[in-house]
Amino acid sequence: MTPPSGPKRPFGLGTFVLMMVGVAVVGAVAGVAGSIVGDQPGPLGLALTLAFMAVAMAVAFAACIWWWRGIDEAAREAHKWAWWWGGSSGMAAGAILILTLALRDDGSPSGDVGSSAADLFAGGMLAILLFQLAGYGVAWAAWWLKHR
């Protein structure tokens, strides 16, 4: 007996990889363009950098929404669970590590690495994001291992 024809097939790993590559390309183009035009002095450079980043983020969000609507409910549940538990745990672990290292009394690392305050600020933000993503990835894999 053949089952009734159902709704369209949910997105799989291939679509996810395709979306990530597409978003990475958009991000790279916006990053390069933003760094070129952002060198202009005054508020124009700042405004152009802001505009490129905003457009890239908007494209990434649009791609995410399209992909989110195409996956099935178990896949969504895995991502929600992973974002909350994995992202939170990763952020907590990263905060402990980074704050412990940053608040040591043996001198600021900025002099050693030649980084500006802005570099360190951006680096700290990206470091936390990387810890969150690492926790997210581990939690996502754990959810599927548990539910397979």
């Binding site: 159902g6 409910e73 896949a75 397979r148």
Partner: protein, 63 residues
Amino acid sequence: MNNRLKVLRAERDWSQADLAHALGVSRQTVNALETGRYDPSLPLAFKIARVFGQPIESIFTED
């Protein structure tokens, strides 16, 4: 929550992929449902009931 998905699917000689196609979910989701490791949302439970032509309470039961 317990369910009779595997039995109902076997009675119809459907594969997990067949059922997944009918429900519009992935095969992994069907597997997680059948093994009782994932409880479906209410809309998906209704869809399952419709595909098998049975009421929800005859497919899903409490522990």
